[in-house]
Symmetry: D2
Subunit: 135 residues, 4 copies
Amino acid sequence: MKTTLEELQQLLANAAFLKTFGMMVHSCAPGECTVVVPYAAELERPGGVLSGITLMGAADVAMWLAIMTERGTAEQWLTTDMKTAFLRGARRTDVHCTARVLKLGKRNAYGTAECRAADGELLTHHVLSYAFVSA
Amino acid sequence: MKTTLEELQQLLANAAFLKTFGMMVHSCAPGECTVVVPYAAELERPGGVLSGITLMGAADVAMWLAIMTERGTAEQWLTTDMKTAFLRGARRTDVHCTARVLKLGKRNAYGTAECRAADGELLTHHVLSYAFVSA
Amino acid sequence: MKTTLEELQQLLANAAFLKTFGMMVHSCAPGECTVVVPYAAELERPGGVLSGITLMGAADVAMWLAIMTERGTAEQWLTTDMKTAFLRGARRTDVHCTARVLKLGKRNAYGTAECRAADGELLTHHVLSYAFVSA
Amino acid sequence: MKTTLEELQQLLANAAFLKTFGMMVHSCAPGECTVVVPYAAELERPGGVLSGITLMGAADVAMWLAIMTERGTAEQWLTTDMKTAFLRGARRTDVHCTARVLKLGKRNAYGTAECRAADGELLTHHVLSYAFVSA
């Protein structure tokens, strides 16, 4: 891998715009990354279900880090397209989100992500496209 | 309209999970709603571009409120599917996001949303599906 | 416009892979194109509803031609991503499909398309991304 | 399984609207189905690449059959949403398309499909939503 779990963890910790979500890197492998979103009442929408924004944020971040496992942390990759299917609501549970790169080209990347509750239930399924931004 | 702008504004103000984004209702009409996300440095991702999470959050909320203009605030509607195309990055600008309901059935709704910078440039384009959740 | 309606019509007539669908160009304007799919029983799926493949094909072709109205017919543009929402079934009706380019960059294009029945009812809504392929 | 490979094969053979594509069922398992599209010059778009319509058609059909492996052939399920990422062009090759159901509820199904060239290369990736239509 071009990037260690510690480097990815550091990157997340420094990202002010993600502070609300309290995400942590759980594990990574080449082209793959899992983040955890610990349960927090303030991430729930009315009705006591984890907000969709949180789940989409987790998927977007997990894919961002998954690309870095192959390409390092210096390059800038941006999300160009993202689709989310909300399959089940998450209630009072930590969420694990795993992203996998299916295609990594010179300028484009594509992959899937899935968020699961602590009991393993599939909550959301995502497909994401990223583009490399040359400096 | 089944809901006034003041009711929608109140709803947003009460939604703790949206506090980070600082969104406000700008205007609404039957089947349509525009929210504003005022510029805030803490919503930027590394590189000084507004985070995708913020833009997706704005679109999701704008559609949620657009449905309420037709159906009132008592019913519970949840996002079942959402796709976002990130067309341009937003730098140091307020963002206006307008959602429009294209189809509103008894149990399902579908529509589009678009986020624009203060100068009118199209930043993101979204399509969203919502489902009515009977109590 | 960089391309006339006659040129677009000729292009369609020459495309063997589209022969099944019987599409014709109805009208075009800069960044916009409408194609018609005349009713044909052999395009129906079991149950007497127009097949989704036909509607997706119409949207893909309409966007392809819409890009040509701005860029001419010599350049090669390919679909990179396409999403379709099937909102209502089409029964025994001609279908009009209108595509509109929302963003046209040097290398990428993005737009929407919608298919409507003869009575104006919205059948499907599509978002499409295209990429320019340099020779 | 609620349906045999022979029943699925028969269903395809009877579907007039699919005749152009020449698809055959290759294999199936509970919640899973693979169809083959044999190479045919008349399915190519200008430039000698297999048309996107063919690949989307294969994915849509593969998912339709995958649902039948769990639910039988009597129920009517319709595509409500479908997204395709075109990752590589297919040239002069048979295509295998495998669909997998990720969630199967009483009224809704969701899954992925992927089309691969004869050499195993990933051509397209799809996500599909289906709804059960009660008679």
